[in-house]
């Protein structure tokens, strides 16, 4: 009797969250190591290999320095997310959006996700200003970074921890 999970409805939620990564999920096997899936992993519909956030940052930005965004960018993220399935992110910035100087890319990165890059959004000066929102998935409590890449190559980073409350009954 004791082996029956007490909160097996929550186990289901954890299982669901595990699917897109999350630290501390020891059961996850890095996809790239699995024979047979490595080739398929290059296909669009296949999950890409696991990555540490340092690898993600290096892959995306090489050795270029990340500057603290400070008041250049305002990001709204919940401090505590009731579930990792839907975490609203809203990004506003007063960085210029002119033909000769604009924010070229916005990266949303969840450090502890299996594969940290949530999304990259490429903009043009036609956006007029930087104001973007979307909903991301988080595998568990993690730092979330929003990095703005300007047309002149500067990288401005906002970073905040979002705690995901997985656990407890009901909900």
């Amino acid at each position: 009797m004791n082996t029956i999970p007490q909160h097996n409805h929550d186990a289901g939620r954890r299982r669901a969250l595990r699917l897109f990564g999350g630290a501390g999920v020891a059961a996850m096997i890095p996809l790239g190591l699995l024979p047979g899936t490595a080739a398929a992993a290059s296909g669009l519909g296949m999950p890409k290999p696991d990555e540490k956030v340092e690898q993600t940052l290096e892959r995306l930005f090489g050795k270029r320095p990340l500057q603290a965004a400070g008041d250049k960018m305002k990001v709204e993220l919940p401090l505590i997310a009731e579930n990792g399935a839907v975490v609203p992110v809203r990004i506003e910035s007063n960085l210029p959006m002119q033909a000769n100087s604009y924010v070229k890319n916005i990266y949303i990165i969840t450090d502890k996700n299996r594969r940290p890059l949530n999304a990259r959004m490429s903009l043009t000066p036609d956006a007029g200003k930087l104001s973007i929102a979307t909903n991301i998935r988080m595998g568990g409590t993690s730092d979330v970074r929003v990095i703005a890449e300007t047309s002149d190559g500067n990288l401005y980073q906002f970073k905040q921890e979002v705690k995901v409350t997985v656990g407890g009954c009901g909900g």
Partner: protein, 458 residues
């Protein structure tokens, strides 16, 4: 020791609402004795029917395939069915003398999700616990109070013996969820918690969110529930309910034939306006004499749609949920308005009140344990901030559940609570669930809470 028990009892002991409910029910026994789930032929979708069957030599309860409902069969434990036997009475435990408690083992057990976890309700000085809850007492200085081991043992074995019948805590030992040896380890751990300095609760984490007593209640900004971009439930409801409204069934009738067309949306009714339905949803659940039971919009549609159009609309199905939203939405902004002066409704409220405090499942816990100030109301159960039936809007169903990305009604919500209670669920359209819903919506009617569907929430 006796003095200590007396203090605890005077702090917590009071007449259980169940007793009042039963007395009221007895007074009303001449009216509103409706059908129960044993007589009612369910109109719910198969996953909602609570079917118990044998699969690969094992009895399971068939439940929803999403969300983690699981299929564990709890049929030997009490349910919310009207004819269900009562939970076993408080039981005295006998602390094993030949087991030496190991605080380390106790700590691990108390954090183990399959054992509760204790930390969903009690704070312990362990920074790795996340998210800790505060439904029950803070245990960080429990070992400094000179409480005998036997008392702690009894509290875990069956707390009703110490705190009285309406304690929110489950009888973990008497129900078989914890072995006597495991309880001894937990007691050893609890006794080791002296505080630092002794008697003073230790903040082992600098993070104010670690401590549920200082954690802020944060609601992520999912957006305006009546905005179809923010709330995908509106899109689903529209895509299923609007065509169905004007669809002519085998009996040659459509909803629109009798109830009129759907006009252009307005701010409160963002799927469309149906003039004849304005205010109707706010009156449910309703006593239906022809069916001898209370019925929600969802229950009624499952009967009414096939009766009139010839097309089924099983409850808890997507079409039923969507149509319920379309109908209920016509009352958005209007106060809940169920017929509190109807004696049949009053009887249902009394039955619902009894159910609200009825101990069910292996855990032997009741709705009231989590959703009243006496229990977990407005406290953290792990990371979940629990609603209090006296203060919070617990209705406004169906709603879009962001965690599952789907619409659910209050019955799926009830059924969802059944798994952690370790009790089998009833069919979604069970008359008993209608009574429980009536009890809740009666509170909302008295408070003047307003209808707003579909809500958008975790």
């Amino acid at each position: 020791m006796k003095e200590w028990i007396r203090q605890r009892l005077s702090r917590h002991g009071r007449l259980a609402p169940a007793v009042l409910g039963v007395a009221f029910l007895a007074a009303c026994a001449t009216v509103g004795v409706g059908v129960t789930s044993s007589e009612w032929k369910t109109n719910a979708i198969p996953q909602s029917q609570g079917i118990v069957k044998e699969v690969d030599g094992k009895r399971i309860q068939q439940r929803y395939p999403y969300g983690g409902f699981g299929t564990v069969n709890f049929e030997k434990w009490p349910t919310f069915a009207a004819n269900s036997p009562a939970y076993f009475p408080p039981k005295k435990g006998e602390m094993p003398k030949d087991v030496k408690g190991d605080p380390k083992k106790g700590q691990a057990l108390m954090k183990n999700a399959s054992k509760g976890p204790c930390t969903a309700c009690h704070l312990i000085p362990d920074a790795t616990v996340w998210p800790a809850g505060n439904v029950g007492p803070d245990l960080r200085t429990s070992g400094s109070r000179g409480v005998p081991d036997e008392i702690f043992y009894q509290i875990i074995y069956d707390p009703r013996v110490i705190y009285g019948p309406d304690t929110p805590m489950a009888p973990f030992g008497a129900s078989g969820m914890w072995t006597p040896e495991e309880i001894v380890h937990a007691v050893a751990y609890i006794q080791s918690l002296k505080g630092n300095p002794p008697g003073v609760a230790e903040e082992v984490s600098k993070d104010p969110d670690w401590n549920p007593y200082t954690r802020k209640v944060v609601r992520p900004a999912y957006g305006d529930p009546l905005d179809p971009i923010a709330n995908p439930g509106l899109g689903q409801a529209e895509s299923l309910a609007v065509p169905r409204w004007s669809k002519t069934g085998p009996k040659g009738q459509s909803c629109a034939n009798c109830h009129g067309p759907i006009a252009a949306p307005d701010a409160k009714r963002s799927i469309g306006v149906i003039t004849s339905m304005v205010g109707v949803g706010a009156q449910y659940p309703k006593w239906m004499p022809q069916h001898k039971r209370m019925m929600s919009i969802e229950d009624f549609l499952a009967v009414h749609a096939p009766e009139t159009t010839g097309d089924a609309m099983p409850s808890q199905g997507d079409e039923n949920l969507s149509m319920s939203i379309l109908v209920k939405m016509q009352s958005n902004g209007m106060p809940y308005n169920i017929a509190l002066d109807d004696r049949n409704v009053q009887a249902a409220i009394a039955r619902g009140e009894e159910m609200f405090s009825r101990r069910v499942g292996q855990r032997g816990q009741a709705c009231a344990n989590c959703h009243t100030a006496r229990g977990g109301g407005r406290k953290f159960l792990g990371g979940r901030f629990l609603a209090d039936i006296e203060e919070d809007a617990m209705v406004n169903h169906p709603y879009w559940r962001t965690a599952w990305q789907r619409l659910i009604d209050i019955r799926i919500r009830f059924q969802w609570c059944m798994t952690p209670l370790r009790t089998n669920m009833l069919p979604g359209d069970a008359p008993e669930y209608a009574d429980l819903e009536t009890f809740i919506i009666a509170k909302q009617t008295r408070r003047g809470d307003k209808v707003e569907v579909p809500r958008l929430s975790h």
